[in-house]
């Protein structure tokens, strides 16, 4: 066996990727880490502060309230969008012209930019001239999302459900289409009820796409910014000030770079942690399969 010459020059080939990752991820992130441990004054004067900002953020009522609102919002929309999306996917026709029509209709909301969605609902729900707001008031509801926190929340949730349930439905539809006919035929022969087919054939086969759907919807909804800002700017009061809105207020409104940077990192770690928990819970028991 002839010994091959050892050559380390191949490492240079990795360089472009390393540079790319460094410029779009590592360096910006490290800048944030850098800000998060320092106090900033004018004239580019920085003083090292250690974990002071982290301590301040974690212990501030303002951050905790925003986090609670965020968890509540994400919890509610997941609880609505996932079952609703699966239900819609189950009801969609499998083949024929109507299948294509449904797919196109379901994709429409996904193609609309976030700020346009916000603006649409803002106008739609206006109590005096918006179709929805005006109708609600006409039939006897006292509805004004710019003044009532509950109304603002309901509008925000309705908007998100309208915008994103399609994503869950389309993923679930793809998952359902991938189930071989033999499963349905075998279930029919075994005398399974439609409920048993859902419980023992369809849902287990949908598990993987639903894991993806839940993770995507969790991460996206946890980072939601544009729609509530366009709708009410986080109000009334702080009623719909979710984490990202609060962050922007601190960073750009008050220009507190240190606390904003610390909050960004905490925010990022929360998303990472919760995604990991979701993933673990949903793929539990896989290894023996």
């Amino acid at each position: 066996m002839s010994a091959k010459p050892v050559n380390q020059r191949a490492w240079w080939l990795v360089l472009p990727v390393l540079l790319l990752v460094a410029f779009n991820a590592v360096i910006p992130l490290m800048t944030v880490v850098n800000y998060s441990v320092q106090e900033t004054f004018g004239d580019n004067q920085f003083f090292f502060e250690g974990v002071k900002w982290y301590d301040e953020v974690v212990n501030s009522g303002r951050f905790r309230d925003a986090l609670k609102r965020q968890l509540l919002f994400t919890g509610i929309i997941l609880a609505i969008e996932v079952p609703l999306g699966v239900a819609i996917a189950l009801a969609m026709p499998r083949r024929g012209a109507w299948a294509s029509v449904c797919l196109v209709l379901m994709s429409m909301p996904l193609l609309i930019p976030w700020n346009v969605v916000g603006a649409m609902w803002n106008i739609l729900a206006l109590p005096d001239i918006g179709l929805l707001g005006w109708t609600l008031n006409k039939v006897g509801f006292d509805y004004n999302y710019t003044r009532q926190p509950l109304a603002a929340w309901l509008t925000l949730i309705a908007m998100d459900v309208w915008h994103w349930t399609s994503l869950v439905a389309l993923l679930a539809y793809a998952g359902l289409s991938a189930i071989p006919d033999a499963y349905y035929q075998a279930a029919k022969i075994d005398g399974a009820s439609p409920w048993a087919v859902l419980r023992h054939v369809q849902l287990p086969k949908l598990k993987h796409v639903l894991t993806i759907a839940v993770l995507l919807r969790f991460m996206d909804s946890f980072m939601i910014y544009t729609e509530p800002v366009v709708l009410t700017g986080g109000g009334p009061g702080n009623a719909t000030t979710l984490l990202s809105i609060d962050l922007v207020k601190i960073a750009l409104g008050q220009f507190d770079l240190g606390p904003a940077a610390a909050m960004s990192l905490i925010y990022f770690l929360i998303i990472l942690l919760l995604s990991w928990v979701f993933y673990q819970v949903m793929t539990r028991g896989e290894e023996q399969a």
């Binding site: 071989p180 033999a182 499963y183 035929q185 075998a186 029919k188 022969i189 075994d190 005398g191 399974a192 009820s193 048993a196 023992h200 054939v201 287990p204 086969k205 023996q288 399969a289």
Partner: protein, 358 residues
């Protein structure tokens, strides 16, 4: 338990079948006795799976009737027909244990728990699944899963017939043989009617007492493996069954005597039913062809060693004639003559054996 009778079944997947080719099944009449082991054999697209789906009730035929015993079940859904089916790809309920899989069809039918338990254990014993009852079904190998699919059918006491749709497709070759003998053994032990769909002649021949050969949506012959081998009713059967398949030689019929290459070829059947313009052919299996001093002159083209025997390919003009020789028999040099064993040589008119009508 019941006899199964199919009457004038026709099926098309198109809404308005116009041409002959639009029909997946063209007028099938069949009878299966209670407790028999049957195979439906044919190449892909011959209609065998369509026929099976009609028997199981997953498909409603365009026309014709299906009878179980005296009852007309044509319009009944599969769960009312008391049938079981094993599919090409193993179907198990992933989230359930092996035990729950086997119990599933019984629980769906409201069988009392004590009885469910007894049946499940009985079936598990029959299929050698006892050790894995508590395991999750998703973790089993393909042959284990296929046994579960079969077990769900066996567990039910009301089953008229178990149908297999190419059940060994995804099984490893060395396990195929074991599962096949297991099926055969099961059939002998429980005496349930079994219908086995396959395109593999070895599977069909080893499993079934009676094989139904299908071709382009029609049944071309029903018979025991020996009948199919020795007396093919159609050139397709001769060609499809056997390895290598039957030699089919275009011939002329002259005063009731078939002639190939000018040489008269005596056949087992009389040359009746020949018409002007009909396609006439001589069919003879390579097993029944031998080299002789006189007969059909041929050129030896190539010899293939197939272990215990040799396959000799010879040609007369453009017609290939294969000869099967034993391991050590000598193959003549380039030019030779062939003789056919008259008892196993038949004349075919338009594909069908002369003297019988399709």
């Amino acid at each position: 338990m019941a006899r199964i009778r199919l009457e004038a079944l026709r099926h098309s997947y198109l809404k308005q079948p116009a041409r002959d080719a639009d029909w997946a099944l063209k007028n099938v009449d069949l009878q299966w006795q209670d407790g028999g082991a049957y195979a439906l054999l044919g190449p892909s697209g011959c209609g065998k799976t369509t026929l099976l789906s009609i028997v199981s009730g997953l498909l409603r035929p365009t026309s014709g009737r299906v009878y179980f015993g005296e009852e007309d079940v044509t319009g009944q859904p599969p769960d009312r027909r008391n049938i079981a089916q094993v599919f090409q790809f193993p179907v198990v309920y992933d989230t359930m244990s092996v035990y729950d899989n086997l119990a599933f069809p019984l629980r769906n039918r409201g069988v009392p728990p004590a009885q469910v338990d007894a049946r499940v254990r009985e079936v598990a014993a029959l299929l050698d699944l006892e050790a894995m009852l508590a395991q999750r079904a998703a973790g089993l190998t393909a042959d284990g899963k296929q046994k579960i699919s079969l077990g769900r059918g066996l567990a039910r006491s009301d089953v008229n017939v178990i149908m297999f749709d190419e059940p060994l497709t995804v099984i490893d070759p060395h396990l195929k043989w074991r599962l096949r003998s297991k099926l055969k053994e099961l059939h002998q032990r429980i005496g349930m009617t079994m219908i086995y769909v396959t395109h593999d002649q070895t599977e069909a021949m080893t499993f079934a007492n009676e094989v139904v050969v299908m071709h382009e949506g029609a049944v071309v012959q029903v018979g025991t493996p020996v009948e199919l081998f020795e007396r093919p009713r159609h050139t397709f059967v001769g060609h499809f069954i056997g390895s290598p398949g039957m030699n089919v030689l275009p011939c002329e019929v002259d005063n009731g005597v078939p002639r190939f290459a000018g040489v008269p070829v005596p056949t087992a059947n009389a040359a009746t039913g020949t018409r002007a313009g009909a396609r006439t052919e001589i069919g003879v299996r390579p097993e029944f062809v031998r080299f002789a001093d006189e007969g059909v002159p041929v050129r030896v083209v190539r010899v293939a060693d197939a272990g215990r025997h040799q396959v000799v390919e010879t040609r007369h003009a453009d017609t290939v004639i294969r000869v099967l020789l034993k391991e050590h028999e000598t193959v003549p040099a380039e030019h030779a003559h062939l003789a056919f064993d008259a008892a196993f040589t038949r004349l075919y008119v338009d594909g069908w054996v002369a003297g019988e009508t399709a």
